[in-house]
Symmetry: C2
Subunit: 308 residues, 2 copies
Amino acid sequence: MSLLVVGSVAFDSIETPFDKIEKVIGGAATYICYSAANFNNQVQLVSVIGNDFPQEVIQDLEARNINTEGLQLKENEKSFHWSGKYHTDMNHRDTLATELNVLENFDPVLPDSYKNSEFVMLGNLAPQVQKQVLDQMTTKPKLVVMDTMNFWMDIALDALKETISMVDVLVINDEEARQLSGQYSLLKASKIIRAMGPQYLIIKKGEHGALLFEGDKIFSAPALPLADVFDPTGAGDTFAGGFIGYLAQSGDISFENMKRAIIYGSALASYCCEEFGPKKLQEINGSDLEARVDEFVNLMQIDFKVEA
Amino acid sequence: MSLLVVGSVAFDSIETPFDKIEKVIGGAATYICYSAANFNNQVQLVSVIGNDFPQEVIQDLEARNINTEGLQLKENEKSFHWSGKYHTDMNHRDTLATELNVLENFDPVLPDSYKNSEFVMLGNLAPQVQKQVLDQMTTKPKLVVMDTMNFWMDIALDALKETISMVDVLVINDEEARQLSGQYSLLKASKIIRAMGPQYLIIKKGEHGALLFEGDKIFSAPALPLADVFDPTGAGDTFAGGFIGYLAQSGDISFENMKRAIIYGSALASYCCEEFGPKKLQEINGSDLEARVDEFVNLMQIDFKVEA
């Protein structure tokens, strides 16, 4: 099915306890697209870049069936650039610099062909910009999934809540869920956040997996214990891209199918952590993905019917 | 089957963000016994108490089919007493006071009827004392499970490693696994720790569940998201008691059955957190336990065969 993706297409400079890299390809929408490209959908990218962004990456995305008609090029500006540093536990990072550049006045303009997209993935961006995308849709999408971060809770909470009220699935991490709800218990937090609008809530817990909430139902997905987490940048975006990519391919947005979508998103996110930038995502193929999904299934496989 | 349990039987004084209590019944062996009593085994308790420990608790344990022949009473001494304070996240606590009392010179003496027990649970204690219990066994047990804590890694690492080399299953938390192995990755840590002796390793992750490792196999068990964690004291002991109690009842020590045992242990541990001390464990019955196990099964239930 059609899947509209909005988010940043950018550069990241990353320092981990193991290595560092300057200006690797990054951005929420980049990771979402590379991840969603593993499924059979018409992916439509909305973003903005400066004249410093490499044309080969755009071509690579197009070669993966990503429509870049909605990718704006600002000839005399520079692309968004984020710099960050990870600590030993890799679940926490410090932002060293944020150069907004083209994102400062980003006005997302949807090509007409995007306006009736059936699935919409709002990658992490200012909530006002995310809302502008939804406002341009001419048909109500089948499913809108939204990612965000604590930064917007700090500086734009009212706008954030307005956008949250318009989406079906909110994807945030555990710290963000606690901040947004004011509750430490994730069960209590999930109720408060879903009362803000979204029918579904996904709470990402990094190396501890993810939780999916709807009504009184909860699904707990494991994370694959990895020997090395080389660089977790983009893992959350990759998770979201795999989640919505899987759902859009099947068209089935039931709770049961969302569970499977979470495992696909988790499998792709685990690959993402193995290299700097989207490199590993560029390398893997369908059988790599299925093999990793099988590892997740083995990890959680239990049979209560055959007792000794 | 027969299940020998060694550990402290003691008092705890506990402060949480919600409430505080002085000298509630506690101790690793107490929680292990209350938890293991949910299964059909001959539980044999080895521990030591002073003359301040309430006789009603001993009677309550005996009424649950716990053999207390190996429970020593030191007439002129006081029972072990631990005081601690939890922070908001409930995964971390500060020890405020440790009055060893009767534990200071604890010499575990096994009654003859205990010496051929088929299952042995070494609750958290000085590793030298845990080893003394194993040294008195006249028959090699079918399965020895050991709990310990970072305190023994700090002050008695060599003795700890010696006892670890004698057991089949080691149960520790994620911080302890990292400390013991010197590795941050739990996958790497699990290999190093199992090379110390135990065929199986269980890493407890509190509100994030638990991991079971054997050979190249890994099982990831979820934790139940709770509205309130009232008091996590004893949750780890309760987990261990449920784990070995379930295994001893069936006599099946396969990896597949250990997965189920982990879910039973997790279900009992989740009940333990709902009240101060072992109160909730004293109240629940078999159908409460099965209902909680069903909640865990629902939490992790996923079907990859029926795709849309």
